[in-house]
C-alpha cells in the first residue's frame, strides 16, 4: 500500500470514490501504485460476478416472468406474452392469498419464537452442565441436525399417525383413552402445530450452537464480579450473558425468519397444505400455482411478493447492519 516506487502520473480523481469519513486513509493511498489500488477489485470481481450471475440474474428473470403469461403453451412455443401487472392484481385480489399470507406470518413468528426460546435454553443448559453431559447433548443435537428433512418428516408423520402412531398408543396407555384413533391432522391449526414441531426440532441445534458459542465467549471474571455483587442467576444472565449474546441472537433470529418464512418441504410432505387447504402457506401456494398448475406467471408474482414481505420483515435488521458498518468505519 505504501510503496514509493514507480509512482505514476495517474490523476488523483481515478481513485475509487469513498465516503468523506474515510478521507484520512485515502490520502495515504493516493501515493500507492495504480495496480495496488485496482488489485482488490480485480480479486473481488470473480466472486462478485458469480454472485450477480447466480443470484441476481434469477431474480431479474423472476421479475420478468411475473410480468408475463407463462403457461405450458408459452413454455413450449417460446412466445413472450407480456401482461403487465395482471398477475399481481389477480393474486392480490384473491382473498385466499391474504388469508394464507396472514397464516404464514403467524406460523413463521410462532416457529421462530419457539426455536429461539428452546435454542437459548439449551445453550444455557450446555454451559452449566458437566462436560460429559454437555458432549452427550451436543452429539444429540448434531444428530438431530443431520437427519434429512424428509426422513425426519416421515418419522414425525408416523409418530402422529391416527391408527398406528406411537403417540396415540402412549397417550392411551397413560390413561388418556380419548386419543385412540385421534387425528392430529384433522384441522389446520393442529396440522401446522405438528409441522411447526418438526421445523423447531430441526432448527434448534443450529440456534443452540450459535448461542452457546456466544456464551463461552463471555470472560469468566465478569461472572465472578456479578457473583461478588450478589446477583441472582437471572440477574447474571440479564446483565452479563445477554449483552454478549444479543448480536448473535439478533442475527440468528433474522436468519430463522428467512428460513421459516419459506419452508416448503415439511409443510407439503405432511398434508400437502390440507386438510381443506387449512395448512397452506405461501410457499405451498406458490407450488400449487406454479408447478402443479403450470401457471408460472402468477407463481412468479407470489414469489416476488414473498421477497417483498421478507425485505419488509428484515428491514430493521438490514438497517442495523448498515448502521453497525458505519460505526465500525468511524
Amino acid at each position: 500500500m505504501t510503496t514509493t516506487q514507480g509512482v505514476t502520473a495517474m490523476p488523483a480523481g481515478a481513485t475509487p470514490p469513498a465516503s468523506p469519513r474515510v478521507a484520512a486513509p485515502q490520502r495515504r493511498r493516493r501515493r500507492g501504485h495504480i495496480g495496488d489500488r485496482v488489485l482488490p477489485y480485480v480479486l473481488l470481481a470473480p466472486a462478485l460476478i458469480g454472485v450477480l450471475g447466480l443470484l441476481g440474474w434469477p431474480t431479474v428473470q423472476l421479475l420478468f416472468i411475473s410480468l408475463r403469461k407463462l403457461d405450458l403453451r408459452e413454455l413450449v412455443t417460446g412466445d413472450m406474452v407480456w401482461v403487465g401487472l395482471q398477475n399481481y392484481s389477480d393474486v392480490l385480489a384473491d382473498s385466499e392469498f391474504w388469508t394464507i399470507t396472514l397464516r404464514t406470518l403467524i406460523f413463521c413468528a410462532a416457529v421462530v419464537a419457539a426455536t429461539m426460546l428452546i435454542g437459548l435454553l439449551v445453550a444455557v443448559l450446555m454451559k452449566h452442565v458437566n462436560p460429559v453431559v454437555r458432549i452427550a447433548i451436543q452429539v444429540a443435537l448434531v444428530l438431530a441436525w443431520a437427519v434429512p428433512i424428509i426422513a425426519a418428516t416421515t418419522v414425525f408423520q408416523w409418530i402422529f399417525d391416527q391408527q398406528y402412531g406411537i403417540l396415540n398408543k402412549t397417550l392411551d396407555k397413560l390413561g388418556f383413552h380419548d386419543f385412540i384413533g385421534y387425528s392430529w391432522f384433522g384441522s389446520g391449526t393442529s396440522t401446522l402445530t405438528v409441522i411447526g414441531l418438526i421445523i423447531v426440532w430441526q432448527a434448534v441445534p443450529f440456534i443452540a450452537f450459535s448461542l452457546y458459542a456466544g456464551l463461552i465467549g463471555v470472560p469468566r471474571e465478569q461472572y465472578e464480579a456479578a457473583g461478588i455483587d450478589g446477583a441472582s442467576g437471572f440477574q447474571t444472565f440479564r446483565a452479563v450473558s445477554w449483552p454478549a449474546l444479543k448480536p448473535i441472537a439478533t442475527m440468528v433470529t433474522f436468519l430463522s425468519v428467512l428460513w421459516d418464512f419459506q419452508v416448503f418441504a415439511q409443510v407439503w410432505a405432511v398434508k400437502q397444505g390440507g386438510p381443506d387447504g387449512e395448512s397452506t402457506t405461501l410457499p405451498v401456494l406458490l407450488y400449487l400455482k406454479g408447478i402443479a398448475g403450470s401457471h408460472f406467471g402468477p407463481a412468479a408474482a407470489i414469489a416476488m411478493l414473498m421477497l417483498l414481505f421478507l425485505v419488509v420483515l428484515t428491514a430493521r435488521y438490514l438497517q442495523l447492519l448498515v448502521r453497525s458498518k458505519e460505526a465500525e468505519l468511524r
Binding site: 434469477p58 406458490l286 408460472f296 412468479a300 447492519l321
Partner: protein
C-alpha cells in the same frame, strides 16, 4: 470483524432467499435449454410409464419397428408416475422432447388444450379407430380434435375373500347397494369378535370410488364442454352418492384413515395382512397383496361395484393412459408409424394379456381366463372419465376438493350440504 461476518451472513441469506424463490418458479424456463443430447439420425424416443406395457410387448414392438424402418433405433425409456407432470412440462418445453409418450387420461385434456400435442385426427382410422375404448377416446379429444390415442385402461371392482363370504353364509356376491350392506352385516356378525377384522377397507379419500356412487345416482362432478365447466357436486344426486359412501364407512366400521387415500397406506398391503374381507381396487392389487400372502390369490374373488338397482352395476372411473406425440417432435411421421403399430390387434392382445383393458381393440378374450380381469373388463364397458376440462389436471395435482369434501363430511366436521357446497365452490374456482 464480527460485524462484517454478520453483514456477509445477512446479505448472503437475503440473496439466497431471493434465489430460492426464483428457482422454484423459473425452473421451467431455465431447464428448457439444457436437455438430453439430440437424437441422431432416424432415432425416436419413446416414453412409457412404469408398469404399463409388459417388457415382452415393448421388446417385440421395438424390434418389429426397427426392422420395418431400417436405420431407425427406438430409444425406449420407462418413466415413474411420481412427478411425471413436472417432467413432461420440462421435456415438452425443451428442444428435444420424446417423440411418443404415455400420458395419464386425466392429464390429457390439459396438455391438449395448451396446444402442445400433435393433432392426430387424420390418423385415427389408420390406428384401428373404430374399436377405440370410448371413455379413453373422449379424454384424448379436445375441441373436436383427437390428440391422444387410447393405450390401456383399468377400472376398479370389489375384491373379496371367497372363504370369508362362505363362512359368513353369503351365497352370491352382492349386486345392489342393499345387498352389499347386508353382506357387510353378515361378515361382521361372523368375524366381528376379532378387533382387527374389517368387513370392508375403505379409506376416506378414495374419490375414484365416490365417482362410481355419484354416477350411479345419476349425478356427476361437473358439467360443460370445451373450456367451460361448472361443478355439480351440490346436486341431490351427488349428495346421495356421498351419503352412500358414508353409509359404507360407518356400517363397515372400516379402520382406514378418513384423511388419506387408498395409497397411503397402500390398501393392498392391508388386505395382504388377512383381516380384511373386501376392498375396492384394481386386479393388479391382488398380485401385490399376494406378495405378502400367496394363498390370497386363490381365496380372492371379484364382483363389480354394486349399483342402487339390483343386477345393474355402478359406472366405474376408467383409469388409464393415452399415447401422444408432442407438437414439437421432429419425427412426427415416424412417431405416427410407431403408434399405428402399437394400436394393431397383435400388440393390443399383449396388453390384454398383461391384465389391462386394451385401448384400441375390442377383443378382450385374453382377459376372460383371469377371474378378476374378466369382471373388470365387463365393467369397463360402463366406464366413464372425469370431466375433460383442460384444468382438470390442477384438481388432481394440487389439493383435490373431492378429497377434502370426503374427509370433512366423514369426520363430521361439515354437513353434507356444507361439504358439497364448499367443494363445489373450490371446483368452480379451479375449473372456471
Amino acid at each position: 470483524m464480527k460485524r462484517w461476518i454478520k453483514l456477509a451472513a445477512g446479505v448472503a441469506a437475503i440473496t439466497l432467499a431471493t434465489a430460492g424463490c426464483a428457482g422454484s418458479s423459473g425452473s421451467g424456463n431455465t431447464q428448457a435449454s439444457s436437455n438430453a443430447p439430440a437424437a441422431q439420425g432416424g432415432d425416436i424416443t419413446v416414453w412409457l410409464m412404469t408398469g404399463s406395457a409388459p417388457d415382452s410387448l415393448t421388446t417385440a414392438l421395438n424390434k418389429e419397428f426397427e426392422d420395418k424402418h431400417p436405420g431407425t433405433k427406438v430409444k425406449y425409456e420407462v418413466q415413474q408416475w411420481n412427478g411425471i407432470q413436472q417432467k413432461l412440462t420440462t421435456a415438452l418445453g425443451s428442444q428435444n422432447p420424446p417423440d411418443v409418450f404415455e400420458i395419464g387420461n386425466t392429464q390429457t385434456p390439459q396438455f391438449a388444450a395448451q396446444g402442445v400435442l400433435a393433432d392426430l385426427t387424420s390418423s385415427v382410422n389408420d390406428m384401428n379407430g373404430s374399436q377405440w375404448l370410448k371413455g379413453l377416446k373422449d379424454s384424448g379429444t379436445f375441441d373436436g380434435k383427437q390428440y391422444g390415442v387410447p393405450f390401456y385402461a383399468a377400472n376398479r371392482e370389489v375384491l373379496y375373500r371367497k372363504d370369508m363370504f362362505e363362512q359368513a353364509g353369503i351365497t352370491a356376491p352382492p349386486t345392489s347397494n342393499d345387498e352389499w350392506l347386508a353382506a357387510i352385516d353378515k361378515l361382521k356378525a361372523k368375524f366381528g369378535s376379532d378387533p382387527d377384522f374389517q368387513a370392508l377397507y375403505l379409506p376416506g379419500q378414495y374419490w375414484y370410488t365416490l365417482l362410481s356412487f355419484i354416477w350411479d345416482q345419476g349425478g356427476d362432478i361437473a358439467k360443460g364442454d370445451g373450456a367451460k365447466f361448472t361443478g355439480t357436486l351440490d346436486t341431490p344426486q351427488a349428495k346421495a352418492g356421498l351419503e352412500f359412501y358414508k353409509k359404507l364407512v360407518d356400517q363397515s366400521g372400516t379402520k382406514a384413515p378418513k384423511d388419506n387415500d387408498e395409497s397411503n397406506p397402500a390398501q393392498a398391503g392391508i388386505y395382504g395382512a388377512g383381516k380384511v374381507a373386501m376392498f375396492i381396487g384394481t386386479p393388479g392389487e391382488v398380485a401385490t397383496a399376494a406378495k405378502t400372502d400367496p394363498s390370497l390369490k386363490d381365496k380372492t374373488g371379484a364382483f363389480a361395484i354394486p349399483g342402487k338397482t339390483a343386477g345393474k352395476s355402478a359406472p366405474v372411473f376408467l383409469g388409464g393412459s393415452n399415447l401422444a406425440i408432442p407438437v414439437n417432435s421432429k419425427k412426427q411421421d415416424l412417431a405416427k408409424e410407431y403408434l399405428k403399430l402399437l394400436s394393431s390387434a397383435k400388440y393390443q392382445g399383449e396388453i390384454a394379456k398383461g391384465g389391462f383393458v386394451p385401448g384400441t381393440s375390442t377383443d378382450i378374450s385374453a382377459l376372460d381366463s383371469d377371474p378378476y380381469a374378466s369382471v373388470m373388463a365387463k365393467a369397463s364397458q360402463n366406464g366413464r372419465a372425469v370431466p375433460s376440462s383442460p384444468k382438470w389436471g390442477d384438481v388432481e395435482a394440487g389439493q383435490n376438493p373431492l378429497k377434502d369434501m370426503l374427509t370433512a363430511y366423514l369426520t363430521g366436521k361439515k354437513t353434507v350440504d356444507q361439504a358439497t357446497a364448499d367443494a363445489n365452490a373450490a371446483l368452480n374456482k379451479l375449473l372456471g
